[in-house]
Symmetry: C2
Subunit: 288 residues, 2 copies
Amino acid sequence: MSHFADRLAENIRRKRNALCVGIDPRWESLPLSIRERFGPEGIGAAYEAFGLKVLDLVANITPVVKPQAAFFEQAGVAGFTALASILTRAKELGLVTILDAKRGDIASTAAAYAEAAFGPVWNADSVTVNPYLGEDAVEPFIAAARKRDRGLFVLVRTSNKGAGLFQDLVCDGKPVYRHVADAVASWNAVRLGECGLGDVGAVVGATHPRELAELRDRMPDVWFLVPGYGAQGATVADVQAAFLGNGLGAIVNSSRGITFPFHPDDANWEAKIVEATKKAVAELSGNL
Amino acid sequence: MSHFADRLAENIRRKRNALCVGIDPRWESLPLSIRERFGPEGIGAAYEAFGLKVLDLVANITPVVKPQAAFFEQAGVAGFTALASILTRAKELGLVTILDAKRGDIASTAAAYAEAAFGPVWNADSVTVNPYLGEDAVEPFIAAARKRDRGLFVLVRTSNKGAGLFQDLVCDGKPVYRHVADAVASWNAVRLGECGLGDVGAVVGATHPRELAELRDRMPDVWFLVPGYGAQGATVADVQAAFLGNGLGAIVNSSRGITFPFHPDDANWEAKIVEATKKAVAELSGNL
């Protein structure tokens, strides 16, 4: 397998866009036809059916998908197998996968999460990681990723309203998130791919365009995973600063905006998903 | 059900110690007899058998258990059911349970993790939570906990060697971990139990005794979950500062030191676990 950064770059160039489809299934948003087929006792199976259908609809259009582990965990053991099935199918369809699990633990415990993420359990191309516990929390993910040409995305500046409570505290002349950014830049620089980017990415919300530009400058070799576009309120203009001059460097996530652009009783929900995906791709493709 | 803090206090008073048994199963540390019974294809089932046996051995001695989600996740779907089975059995045995999952996400995603933790999936009494994403990451856990008289433990100052990389950065005259501590104290103060303590606890490592004392002063109503005792190097003297004058206020975790005090080929491993548990209890019971 080639370097994670190069696989990502190749997929983005081939599809001519950097859209990431977030798969965040919610029972109350699912098409009625799926809810009725599986019933409230079959939430995990319903999430699987819906997620697999989304993959089929977007696989030829977009380069990356990102299932959100929380919703699958809430669906119990059937949710667990649903998440595994969606990650497997996404890889078969040639999509780069991001397991959005935001794991954060230390030493051998972090290594267990990393083995789950990259090993037979999830076999994801990459995983999101929380840096609060320090280098011991990130290093085991880096080590596990590099053994198998996988990647990770460390939370740097998140897109939520209350993100600043701790991330924006200023220490030694710069906010905490920039301390995290500097650590990510140095971890990432150890092993760059041929495209010039590395395997330790950063999650940087699109809802703070000024910070996005500032962080792009400080982390020139780092892939950005950019949430906040679409339903969360950020526009295409807001995410521009995340991209490098060559159109690479960022993956822009949209979840609800792409996977739930319909009312549950809309029989045309599949067409609506394709339409919403193509619309987002058209908006974002100016970069490539 | 009564307030989480009161259930914890009652269990600690009844058992006359505040020891938390961490269940962190590792294949290479399991008794040979269990490894041979299940084989390397049956890791999840082996973790379940071992965890249930540990519960039987310690249930009459200790008040609290804390399974570590990472190791169960690594064991795949059988690990998922093993974790659920261990949490269920622990409750049946009257133990207070802490799901050590260190979850950290926002809004409806955090709510999904919280519903998994406290709802039918895990039905845990409490869960560990990562604060890096701010109040939006913690609030959904607090709301879900208060609906069902459960609790949470927010990572404040962790026990690992590299914890200080971001936690110790000084902002506005105090380190990041004290900013987190002050937020925890205010979230916790909203709803105290009859014992005078609340339902938003703090994870504070025993490997930094001076900081432990400082944080105890700043969070007088907050339950501390204290890792680092035993195999990680902290002594009974180191954890004293975590306790209030009445002997409540802290839960001291030991994982490997209690659950793996034997060589895998030791036929007497069950007796060794009981012995290690009683030794830790004797060391810690001076507080009550």
